[in-house]
Symmetry: C2
Subunit: 305 residues, 2 copies
C-alpha cells in the first residue's frame, strides 16, 4: 500500500494554550508533503515530528484567521535559511496572497526558491492535480470565507503477477502498459487477458479537511463517500449556542456530518481552550457515528481504506 499518512501538527483553536498548538496538518502522500493550514508554531512542530522541510512544496490555507496562517511567514523564512530550491505553491484566497506577497517583500528575504500563489475560489473547484492525487476545495460556512480541502488519490495501477509475466516471457518494457490494464499478445498471436497477468490495484483513498465551519449540508454534498473526514469540533454539547454564534461545530454535529456524508472514519479537532479534557468530544460524537479519533499534536495516522 502506498503511503497516505496524516500528521497532526496542531489541533487547538484560536486562543493559545499549553495543551494544543494552533491548526496545521501535513499529509504525506508517497513522500510528497502537503501542508494544510499553518498556525503559529507550525515550523517547530515540523521539527518535532521530523517531517522533512525539503519535501514540502504545497501549503493550503483554508481561511485568513490568524490561528490558521500566522506560521506562514516563519515557515517560509526558515525554508529560505535552509536553502530550499524549486517552487513553493501556496493555495490561498486572493486577499491572503496579496497580504503575504507584500509581507514577503517587506521582510525582504533572499528567497532561493520561488513562491507561487495559487488563488483559490470560495467555492467547489479542482485546485491541484498531479500524477497521484487531486485536491478539490470544499465550501465551508464560517464567519469569514473559508474552504476545506478534499484530497483524492487517483485510480492506482494494477499489481503485476510476476509468476505469470515470467511464464509468458513478457519483456520489461511492456509491464507499464499491463499495469494500466493492457492485455498481452504473444508471438503466436494469442491474447493473454490482463486479468491473468495482474492482481487488482490497491483502492484509492480520500481525505477531507473541514475546518473552520458550522455543520452544513453544503459541506456534506461535497464530501459524499469520503474515507477519512477531519471535521472541526470546537465545542461540545454544552456550548452548542456558542458554536453556532461563532461559526463552529460541536462534536455531535461533526459526527452527524460524517454519518450523512457516508464517511468511513472521523477525526475531530480544533478544540476550544475551554476544555481541559477532550474525551467528552469523542463520547458525544460516538453517540452518532462509530469510528471517531481525537486529533492530538504528534498524532500520525495511516489513512487506509
Amino acid at each position: 500500500m502506498e503511503k497516505f499518512r496524516l500528521n497532526i501538527l496542531g489541533c487547538g483553536s484560536a486562543t493559545c494554550t499549553t495543551q494544543h498548538m494552533q491548526t496545521s496538518q501535513v499529509l504525506d502522500i508517497r513522500d510528497n508533503l502537503f501542508m494544510i493550514d499553518c498556525g503559529e508554531g507550525t515550523q517547530l512542530q515540523m521539527r518535532r515530528m521530523r517531517l522533512k522541510f525539503a519535501r514540502l512544496n504545497n501549503i493550503f490555507i483554508s481561511h485568513l484567521h490568524g490561528d490558521h496562517c500566522f506560521g506562514l511567514l516563519g515557515m517560509l523564512s526558515t525554508l529560505a535559511l535552509l536553502g530550499k530550491t524549486g517552487t513553493m505553491t501556496i493555495h490561498i484566497f486572493k486577499e491572503g496572497a496579496d497580504f503575504f506577497k507584500n509581507a514577503l517583500d517587506f521582510f525582504a528575504y533572499d528567497m532561493p526558491f520561488e513562491v507561487r500563489f495559487n488563488i483559490i475560489p470560495n467555492a467547489k473547484a479542482l485546485i491541484y492535480e498531479d500524477d497521484a492525487i487531486t485536491v478539490t476545495t470544499i465550501p465551508l460556512s464560517h464567519r469569514v470565507p473559508a474552504v476545506g480541502f478534499l484530497f483524492e488519490e487517483k485510480p492506482k495501477k494494477k499489481h503485476i503477477n510476476r509468476e505469470m509475466t515470467d511464464f509468458y516471457n513478457i519483456p520489461v518494457y511492456k509491464l507499464n502498459g499491463i499495469r494500466n490494464g493492457e492485455d498481452f499478445i504473444t508471438k503466436d498471436g494469442n491474447v493473454i487477458p490482463n486479468e491473468v497477468l495482474t492482481r487488482p490495484a490497491d483502492p484509492s483513498v480520500s481525505y477531507a479537511y473541514c475546518s473552520d465551519t458550522v455543520y452544513s449540508k453544503k459541506v456534506i454534498e461535497t464530501i459524499k463517500g469520503v474515507d477519512w473526514l477531519y471535521h472541526e469540533s470546537t465545542y461540545a454539547d454544552d456550548k452548542y449556542l456558542t458554536a453556532r454564534k461563532r461559526g463552529h461545530s460541536t462534536a455531535r454535529e461533526a459526527a452527524t456530518a460524517a454519518m450523512e456524508a457516508g464517511a468511513k472514519h472521523l477525526i475531530l479537532g480544533h478544540f476550544s481552550s475551554q476544555y481541559h479534557d477532550n474525551t467528552r468530544f469523542r463520547t458525544e460524537a460516538m453517540e452518532v457515528f462509530p469510528d471517531v479519533t481525537l486529533a492530538k499534536e504528534g498524532l500520525v495516522l495511516e489513512l487506509t481504506k
Copy 2:
C-alpha cells in the same frame, strides 16, 4: 528589594530548532511586564512561564527580522481574544509600525484595546519613561537597522526608620516627603535630619539588551557601568568569521563588550542552531569576563545590584 526580574522566553537564533525558541524576553518590573522582541511562539512561552498577559502593556522590537517579531500578530490577537483593555504600546521602527498597522487592519480583529505605535529612532534616545524606570535605545550594528534597550530604574525612595518616626510622632502625611529626603521640623522648631529618620534607598538596577549586533564600541559607550548585560553570542570562536559576515558576535566578543562596559553580570543568548551544546559559549566568555550566565528558555533571573 523591589521586583526587577528577567524571564527568558526564547534565546535561539533565526533557524527554528527543538532546542531553542526564537527571541523574546519579559522584564517584570514591580509587576509591570515589558516584553523585548517577540519571535514566533512567544505567546505560548508566556503561557508556559505563567506570565500574566494582562500585565503586559509595552512591547519593544529591536529590529525587523522575523525571528524577533513574527510572534507579534499572534500575541496581539490572543490579547484581543482575552479581552485586554487599555493600551498596548509597541516601540518599533517606523517601517515596522507601518507593516504591523496594516497587518492588524487586514486581519481585522475587533481590538478591545488600543494599539499605539511609538516610533523609535535608529540612534540613542530616551523612548519610554514612567515613575519607576526609563528605557533608552542602544545603537547596534547589524545587517539591518537595529537597537538594543537599556532599562534603568530611577533612584528609589529611602526606607522609613519606623522606630525614629514613631519617636518623633511624625504624622503619616509627612512620610512620603521624608522618603524623598526631607528633614522633619518638630513643633518646637527642632530640625530632625533626614538621615536620622531613614535608611538608605535600595540601589537602582540597570539592564541592557543587545541583540542582534556585532561587537561594537558604540554599544559599549551607551551601556557603561550597566549592572546586567544581555549580549548576543550567536557563534563561538570556531565561527568567528561567520559572525562577522552575518552581523553577529561570538561569546568572546560579548564578554569583551561586558568587560569594556564595566558591566557586573553578562547573560549570553541568541545561540546558533549549529551548536547542540551551549557550554562552550560560557567557557570561552569566561576567559574574558568572570560572571557569565547562559540564557535558556524558562530561565528566570532576579536582577539585583
